[in-house]
Subunit: 241 residues, 2 copies
DNA sequence: TCTTGACCCTCCCCTTGGAGGAGTCTGTAC
DNA sequence: GTACAGACTCCTCCAAGGGGAGGGTCAAGA
C-alpha cells in the first residue's frame, strides 16, 4: 500500500522502528492501520533524508521535533551549497575539455583544495618562512598575489558574498548588499576601472542577455545573475537620489 | 603530500585503483611521481562525487571521459533539484509546526509521493474506472479538480515552469518565458482578475520587498523571485511596444 | 486432493569509502 | 640501546537496505 519493499519492513522490524502488530504462527508479519500510519510518518521523515535513528527519536519524543528538523535543514542547505560548487567545477572542467585543453594536473589539484587545507598549507608555509627568515608572511597578505590576480580574487569574493546572500534570503535592497556593491565599486575604481553605479547596473543587466556571463553566474548559483541585476539596479537608484 | 590518509591508500590498493610502484621488503608501500599524479586525478574526480569505480574507468579509458562526466553532471543536477524540493518541504513543515498546526498525516503522505507513484496511482484508478464505467478519466483531466483549487493549480504549474526555466538556464527574455507569462495572464483575466502586463510586473517587483512572498518564492527555488521579476518586466516592456 | 504461482520466512553475504583498533614491525633520532 | 612515530595486516563497523539460497505458506483452479 505504501510502496515499501518487504526488505525495508524486515529492516525496520530488526531495528525496532516499526513492529508488526501481530506475527502469524507461520511467522508472517501482520500490520494494522496504526502501523500503516506510523509507516507513513516514517516515510515522510525519510523523505527529508533524516537518518532512521533520528526518525525513531522524532516519533517517540515530541518536544525535540523542531530542533531536529532545524538541524536537518542546516545540513541540507550545506549539502546544497556543496553540490552547487561541485556542479560548477564539473561544468568548468567539461567546457575546458571541449575546448581541447588538456587539464593541467596541478591546476586540477589546486582547484579543489578545501578552504581548510588551503589555510593549513599557508599556515605551514608561513611557519616555515618565519622560521627561516624571521618575518610573518600571513599578515602581509601578499601570498596569493603570486598565484592569483588580485582583481580576480576580489571579484570572486564579491560574487561569493552575493550568492551567499541570495541563498540565505537577504533582500536585494538590503543595506548589507548595498554596502557590498559600494565596496566592490570602490575597489574597481581604485584599480583603473571607472564604473558608476549606473554603469554597474547596466553591466549586470547586460549579463542577463549574454550567454557567456549568464552561464557563468548561473553556474555559480541559480538565480545569481537576476539577483545581482536587481541589487545593482536598486543600488544605482539609491545613489542617484 | 596530498593529504589522504594511509587508510585511504590501503583501500585504493585493495580495490586496485592506485597501486604503489614498489613495495619494500618490510611491506611498506612506496609511491613515485607517477602515482602521485594519478592520485591527484583520483582526488579530483572524487571531489566531483564520482564513485571510485567510475574513476577507475575514467582513468583507464580516455574516450569515455566526456560521457561519464556528462552523466555525472545530470546526476548532480537531479540531486540538486531533489534537495531543493526536500528543503522546501522541510521548511513548510517547520513553519506549519510553528503555527501550531499538527500535521495531518494524509497531507504529509500526499506531499511526498513521487511523481511516478502518483502517476501509477492515477493509472490504476483510471484502469479501474475504465473497466467499471467504460470511459477514460485520464484524458478528461478532471481528477485533481476535486482536490485542488483550479487557480491554485494553474499558479503552481506556472511557477513550476518558471522555476524549471531558471534552473535550465533559459533567459528571462526568451520567447518561451514570454509565452508562459502571456498564458498565465490570460488565465488570470479569465478568472476575474484584471491584470495588465505592467500590473504583473509591478506585482512581481513588490514580491521582492515583501517577506512573505519573497520567502515563498525563494523557498521554491533560489533566485526565482528575481528571475520572475526580470521576466515580467521584460514582458511588460515588450507588450508596450 | 493436488498443483501452481505468488508470496513470505530466515540466514548470510554484499554494497560505499573508508574509520578505528589490536597487535606487530620498521625506521629514525637521541 | 631505546624510545617514539608511523606503517603493516587483519578484523570489525557504519546506513539502509539489496540479492539470493533454501524452504514454508496461502489461495485458487483442476
Amino acid at each position: 500500500m505504501s510502496g515499501v519493499t518487504v526488505k525495508t519492513l524486515h529492516h525496520y522490524h530488526k531495528i525496532g522502528l516499526l513492529l508488526p502488530c501481530e506475527v502469524s504462527e507461520a511467522g508472517y508479519r501482520l500490520y494494522g492501520m496504526k502501523e500503516l500510519e506510523r509507516l507513513q510518518h516514517i516515510l515522510f521523515y525519510r523523505e527529508l533524508e533524516l537518518p532512521l535513528k533520528e526518525i525513531a527519536r522524532l516519533l517517540e519524543e515530541e518536544p525535540e521535533r523542531h530542533s531536529i528538523l532545524a538541524r536537518q535543514e542546516e545540513l541540507l542547505l550545506l549539502r546544497k551549497q556543496r553540490l552547487e560548487t561541485i556542479i560548477q567545477t564539473l561544468q568548468q572542467s567539461m567546457s575546458s575539455m571541449e575546448k581541447g585543453e588538456i587539464m593541467n594536473s596541478k591546476d586540477m589539484f589546486k582547484g579543489f583544495e578545501s578552504a581548510q587545507e588551503w589555510e593549513e598549507a599557508l599556515e605551514e608555509q608561513n611557519l616555515h618562512l618565519k622560521d627561516a627568515y624571521g618575518y610573518d608572511m600571513l599578515d602581509s597578505a601578499e601570498i596569493d598575489a603570486q598565484s592569483m590576480n588580485e582583481q580576480a580574487l576580489e571579484a570572486a569574493a564579491f560574487m561569493n558574498h552575493i550568492a551567499e546572500a541570495l541563498r540565505t534570503g537577504i533582500k536585494h535592497s538590503e543595506a548589507e548588499i548595498q554596502r557590498l556593491i559600494r565596496e566592490h565599486l570602490v575597489f574597481m575604481n581604485k584599480h583603473g576601472h571607472t564604473v558608476t553605479p549606473a554603469d554597474f547596473a547596466a553591466q549586470t543587466r547586460f549579463f542577463l542577455g549574454d550567454d557567456f556571463h549568464l552561464r557563468m553566474l548561473e553556474g555559480q548559483q541559480t538565480g545569481l545573475a537576476y539577483y545581482l541585476s536587481a541589487a545593482a539596479e536598486s543600488y544605482a537608484a539609491a545613489e542617484q537620489q
